[in-house]
Amino acid sequence: MLHFKNFQKSYYSNPIIQIDNLKLQKGIYWIKGVNGSGKSTLLKSIAGILDFKGDIILNEEISIKKHPVAFRSVVNFAEAEPIFPEFLTGMEMIKLFESAKKGSKEQSEGLIAIFKMHEYINERLGTYSSGMLKKLSLVLAFLGHPTLILLDEPLITLDTEALGILCQLTLDKHHEGISFILSSHQDLNQELFPQSSILMVENKTVIFPE
């Protein structure tokens, strides 16, 4: 599903993370690592937000470097602590992503209903709490026709009900063929995602734990 080839991300010539050759099959992956290990940097690089050396290839044909538009059409991302323009409403933000990711009105409305956001979706984002912003970022991540969804620290700031909704939605979408990479600095609760695999970010690289 995802192939890292000579991947290297540095800040000011200081290497943060390096993956020489790693292939991930379809599935749900938890990326674990301590604060500052490079989890968010890795997810942002896969999402096409940060530049890096090397290449990442999706489904053995779509390279982020050679096919940047096609790659970004099918890889979605939700930030750990999303920041959006405060003057926009939640619905305006959804419309922006719906248009760019080729989603549909029905899909957007379905996701708004699943996350129970009807009451405030037309309010300006400056009035949203951190939990409401998090839900919005999750809705944006599910819009369109992704084959891979990256969720950075998806469990933080969500209430118990929203957490249950997210887990169920993730499992449903996984059964439809969508892969997930989720990051967390906490231990994985196996009950949430029974079939998931763990990846560790340590010593500036990514490994499967033994």
Binding site: Y11, Y12, N35, G36, S37, G38, K39, S40, T41, K44, A47, G48, I49, L50, D51, P68, V69, A70, F71, R72, S73, V75, N76, F77, E79, A80, P82, I83, F84, P85, E86, F87, L88, E92, K95, L96, F97, A100, K101, R124, G126, T127, S137, L140
Partner: protein, 376 residues
Amino acid sequence: MNFALLKVLDQTFVKAFYRNHSGLLLFFFIAIFSYFFFIKTAGDVTREMQVLYEIKLTLLLVTNPLMLAFIFLIWLIYTFKSWQFVAKQFLMEDQQFLFYSLGAISKSILFINWFLIQTRITLPIIVFGVFAIIIGIFNQQYITPLIIALILLLINSVSAVYYSFLSHQLINSKNFSPFLKLFKSWKKPFFSLFPYYILDQLKIALLLIKSFSIIIITGLFYYYSSFQKDLRLIEIAILMICTGHAFLIYHQKKFNDTFLILSKNLPYSRNQNYLFLLSSKLILLLPETFYLCIHFSILKALYLVLYSVSLMVVYSGILFAFGLDIKRYLFWVFGILIVFFLFIMFKIGYIGMLISLILSYVLFNRNYYKSTIISN
């Protein structure tokens, strides 16, 4: 005097104010003060005559009521800007501890502390005011210095009363610009987001910059009736106007880097993103474009609009190459001003336009995804 409180307020409001507005202040300092004191007059003007002109210009401050009214207007805008900033700081989550600590302090002590804080915030206009007072006294003009001193006292006192009032208010929800209500039902495509942000957060800056545009265009219209024949005059005017807009372009990059990071995950090609950037500049220059279309033939207007957009977009290109480094940015902006002025004087202004478009495209393409955000 509560020095501990003064220190906290100084850190929270004064330093943050100068940090946030350093670009605009530096720009006006260089653009206006350098004009007043360091401009070199063209032609055979002796050093003595030049000093005389500078003294006459400076004396206008204290002798011409219209000039004085204009300066007071600038001070008023500056004061409103500082009020807006302080009120906004109060609403930030990490500053809300102030409501608990300030609420317990007596009104008179609070007033004195806020008065001193506002004195520091308005330091640039106080320095300017003191300078005008000294000039007035030296020239036996006593009424104007008295008015200036009273205005300064009034500005700081009213500000202190307003801040004291804010200190005792309950935490309120965020207020949005009333302008946004006008465009509530409008679609907001990606490239239009920054103009909306200006209407929400940078209204005063927009007012100042557009006033600067109006002054330049009006001056050109009244003093150079031949400006439609010699394209160089309007090219120079556009160069000045775009230099004024450099402040907004800086904030556009800041806005994109802060609020639209996720947009880099959207499936738009670099060329599309470059077109979005050009479109946003065109929106910013809508009033100037309207003026050009009225006063020039379609071809000339088209060239002039493209000329102005090319300048604006090259400022963005510089920011993509060097990041939000204000000193480097201003160095390049004023460098471009000087070089492009020479191009215009030698009647090759279009070369500047071509250079801008090519340079901005190359810088944008090379650096669009090269970000320096560190977050783990």
